[in-house]
Symmetry: C2
Subunit: 152 residues, 2 copies
């Protein structure tokens, strides 16, 4: 692990996101880490987040991918700009312009989900990231996000 | 209003979805109605579902569009098959194969969100639906879903 969670480095006034903000105690508090060229996050859903019984709700999967995507985008932008992910606040916070999720298999309930992200490209304030979500080593969803870096 | 909520017509064993299942008391319980050729749903988010302060969390928006999309798909398939949306359980339940959400504007907190759906096409068990999400009459997101009708 060569970084703090990117979400824990967001500015305090931009850390209320229900999906990943450390200042939202009722939220999911997803944590995204940059490891070399890849981002990673883990999350184990509570049973109430059911789709059809035994499977995880697709809306939660999209939510986790949304926050992992914007977090990954911020991390990859920081990497490009040589901003260390060691101490906050970092000057980069991204929002989602577009998110596409393809569900490949029912996501089993009761096991940790693993989310991974890879940078596709950066153009100005636009950052494209490709993601996967797996459970028990099985690919359950792929996703792509176009994230936009907020102006300061 | 010429239908009951489509989600209230799902079979009892498939009505636990966190986003729209009547048998999930902790969930959002989104309700989708078919009116002529269009589906409609309304939802007012609690303040905890924040993205950046003042705006609704994109993960919630994707979640609502996911459930409105699968509900719309079931409604449009019922319409094609001349199945009345008056008494459950209906024999049609759809899951998401792919969901794409484009965020057009920050979604304001504290007002009812209006979701609408239109059928694009049906091919066998595949149903494509185009959707919008508006707040205060302003378009905040568009979305497209590919939903798959579950085999009985």
């Amino acid at each position: 692990m060569n970084s703090k969670a990117i979400q824990d480095l967001y500015p305090e006034n931009l850390a209320h996101c229900y999906g990943c903000g450390k200042n939202n105690p009722q939220g999911y508090q997803l944590k995204t880490y940059l490891i070399d060229d890849e981002t990673i996050a883990h999350f184990t859903p509570e049973e109430k987040y059911t789709a059809i019984p035994g499977s995880v709700y697709g809306g939660l999967i999209a939510s986790l991918l949304d926050c992992h995507g914007t977090g990954s985008a911020a991390a990859f932008m920081c990497k490009q700009e040589h901003i260390a992910l060691e101490e906050g606040p970092i000057p980069i916070r991204c929002v989602t312009a577009s998110l596409k999720v393809d569900f490949k298999a029912l996501t089993p309930m009761g096991v940790p989900l693993e989310l991974k992200g890879r940078l596709r490209s950066i153009e100005g304030r636009k950052i494209w990231v490709d993601m996967t979500l797996s459970a028990n080593g099985i690919l359950c969803a792929t996703a792509e996000i176009l994230a936009i870096q907020l102006k300061e």
